[in-house]
Symmetry: C2
Subunit: 217 residues, 2 copies
Amino acid sequence: MSKTKHSKDLTKRRAQPKEVRKEQLIRATMKCIAANGLSGVTMARVTTEAGLSLGIANLHFESKERLLLETLEYVTNEYSREQLAIFNSNSYTSLAAKIEALLEFDFSSAVTDKDKMAVWFAFLGEAKSRPTYQRICSRQDSVSEAEMTALFQAAIDEGGYSGADAALIAAGYISLVDGLWLNTLVAPRRLPRKKARLAARHYLASAFPEHIMLGKN
Amino acid sequence: MSKTKHSKDLTKRRAQPKEVRKEQLIRATMKCIAANGLSGVTMARVTTEAGLSLGIANLHFESKERLLLETLEYVTNEYSREQLAIFNSNSYTSLAAKIEALLEFDFSSAVTDKDKMAVWFAFLGEAKSRPTYQRICSRQDSVSEAEMTALFQAAIDEGGYSGADAALIAAGYISLVDGLWLNTLVAPRRLPRKKARLAARHYLASAFPEHIMLGKN
DNA sequence: CATACCTGAATGAACGGTCATTCATTAATT
DNA sequence: AATTAATGAATGACCGTTCATTCAGGTATG
């Protein structure tokens, strides 16, 4: 109960550009979802978390539904953008280096941030019954899967791995990562982040033994 | 608007033993979660789905929270019980057959039923913020992981696979299956059940090449 | 066999609490 | 002074829960 909590000082109320407030509210929403679950999110909690007044969310977002949707988009867009940057980069000296980079990215602390993962899985849990959530969640998945398949195919060609199915390996990798994230989120003691990353590395190493080695890390 | 819908015929009101009504309500709750998401479940919807009156759920379960909890337990217990039966069975003629059986079970139509998976992931999505959900979701996981590790270790010994880590392979398999289920649930077009099962089979085949073959199925 | 009585399952109107949304008012900025 | 941002009390809708009432099936009585 510190007095300066959230600096809810009325004399300091400052008008801020829309974009600043929106991001502030989205971050508060992420925290609320992680702390209370999607069904525990209320406008009062979000605005208190943001240190602002109750009405502010409806001022910048037209409704609670929109706030939630934009929060989901914030998380998914960030991931897609950064992953796509790796796919499109030509600064990696080898296929192996690019695959390694994707692996490190998927288990970086930025991506495995508890709040962000909580948001992601909270929406996925409702996705089956809400077409809008489903659409946002899968918007980039096809692109991502295609990029990954192409990359894996290149590795297969380069390594001369016979009979390997790039599309299937890619689909498996994507699902494996989803599952590892989920288990790390729900039971971090049983599956700490490092063990999760190691499991993913094993998967890639057994698919591309010439490219991904197990010794390092 | 058919007249016989749900046989809501007042002249047919019959007292039923508690257990019958409870199961009826749990099934209705599963349907509601699949159709409306966890946050869209209301007592009115559940009881209408069951073809009963509003007050009935509070009569047999002390509260909505308890109804939801028992629904989650219904799904998790069913899975654990049947999986454990496979682990404990001694009617399989080989380790390979038992591993195959576990794989077939995980992708059987009973387990990959949309309603059941929707229930499972709806609760997992909220699990981080609700200790009770988390406890029920992970109650059997440790047992299951230990059983699987022991089985995989036996396969490693039998096949003479050097340097393989049974615990890591088991953790990876469990997460892979979770991820495949999730993707199958959310985007069945992109990942149909058969493709999901094939991806899981590939994982096992590359870990235990002497035991699991790719040719069949 | 008929009838009265009892038990407890089932019902659904009514209640009260929670929460998203609105908007009159106030404050900051130009 | 005009404009734009922010506030938070008030509103109304929704929903979980309660409980007086209804009714089916069983048991006792004559």
